[in-house]
Symmetry: C2
Amino acid sequence: MTDKIMLAHGGGGTLMQELINKDIVPAVADGSLFELTDSALLDLPGGRVAFTTDSFVVRPLVFPGGDIGRLAVCGTVNDLAAAGALPVALALGLIIEEGLDMEVLRTMLTSIGSAAREAGVKVVTGDTKVVEKGAANELFINTSGVGVLTGTIEYSVSRIAPGDSVIINGFIGDHGIAVMSARNELNFVSPVESDAAPLGDMVQTILREFGDKVKCMKDPTRGGLAGCLNEMAQNVGFFVDQDSIPLRPAVKGACQMLGLDELTVANEGKMVFIVDSSAEKEVLALLQRHPFGKDAAIIGHIDKRAGLVRMQTALGGERIINPPYGEELPRIC
Amino acid sequence: MTDKIMLAHGGGGTLMQELINKDIVPAVADGSLFELTDSALLDLPGGRVAFTTDSFVVRPLVFPGGDIGRLAVCGTVNDLAAAGALPVALALGLIIEEGLDMEVLRTMLTSIGSAAREAGVKVVTGDTKVVEKGAANELFINTSGVGVLTGTIEYSVSRIAPGDSVIINGFIGDHGIAVMSARNELNFVSPVESDAAPLGDMVQTILREFGDKVKCMKDPTRGGLAGCLNEMAQNVGFFVDQDSIPLRPAVKGACQMLGLDELTVANEGKMVFIVDSSAEKEVLALLQRHPFGKDAAIIGHIDKRAGLVRMQTALGGERIINPPYGEELPRIC
């Protein structure tokens, strides 16, 4: 067995079968075999099914607090969680650059398997492509996910109403800063670790208790909190309080140094909950008892100024939070 | 609007929303909107669900008879069809290289929409990433698919028994040769067009009539017919007759010129059916009445020599068809 990925590993032949059977399946599928057929068959309980996809192109592959493998699981699991679905199955699409160290690939696969177990989701099917050296950057991963809706409520922005409370489960900006600190071309060292985490369990814990009080959920990934709130501000407005938004001093410092707005920096383990204000304290308390929610905070409320996200600044002023135009930090997920 | 894809198009901000709302959704989703949330909700009828994923990295993006967009739909639809599932929904993951002409992207999106309509499947959710120039080759597409099992039979290699017949729905090798003929570095011109086609309807037509007589199906994509038959030859052997395998003279000629074995060249509109021999003639006749099966042929039968794929050659000899080791033609899908 060579220690580098070769084009032939993606060729649909013996070498690809070996890679799948010896490296991919044992690492990501907990030893159980993929179906030989190219589709996995799922026995789902009755009801509605959530379906999502996400590609991951983060650079570098490994960064403080995570790697592309953990990210690929968490990102898709969290998209399902945001829809109110219990994540059930993942499909794993690998696009590998010829010449990638086999050990690097194995480490990423192990990370995928570990994150999937943590998330309580099974990798049930996959696809492997290899492209020539220079035709991709080391490794791109696509994960698609299927989840089942556990209740009858369809969480959506149309449920949001003035007076609702806005809650986030912890510190913002950790992921983006952790990835940037791992880039060789940027000369800064940061103690910040990525927040990449699978939030399915945390979300289900909230929904089991307060499912009818939750209006909508969204994970503030690319575009950060600013992008997330602006996407949700369709028929209503948001008013948030800068002082109440959990922000680590190290992230604040790194953002100042890099000239970034922390509100636009990506998160991979955060969820924004819009909840009926009558339940805000109970939802907050329950979130804070969960490992991924211990720094949760109520950060604002909904008002009637449709399309507008406003922020009370720490200095007492008011600022409009515009949606980011493009990306301040490319390839952070 | 710029006419080139910029990094900012993948940034989760206003520019990405514009790309999604103005270009992606109208082209691929038939004008209906993706859910704003990152997951689509599917109302599936009761029963088992098939789930699959496939990434497409074909080079060049456009080739005789198809393009990466059509391929991305057909490949995933055909994986679902091979499982006996009716394709229902696709998720579309785009990884775009910075600098790609917007017109090229639009053309590929239009092709995706057109192929999805032809396949009777809906693109319900998606993800867009942009990587720096040089970090990917123009465009990679991942499609994941969900389908519903229409019957109670689970088609699998374990159902195959000695005496069963092996049927294919038409000419082999067209796709691989069509792609190779479009590569600038190869100096040959070929009249061959890719066979890329969505086979869901053809397969369902067969299963409705002969579902219990069909043992297993598999699409001979990467690795070609040789790879496909070898993957199915687990507990049984295959014996095929070279003269009966549909092969266009132009494909045969191109393979000879390029030093390729046509049995290992990829197809994207072919399905191998293993059927009870008592129904072989009826299945063949029904296939031949379908537009994608008019050149269908019975190409061999199953025997007891487990793990072995043998071929009666045109010259009267016998040859063992080994699984390809790697890929003879990289990036043909």
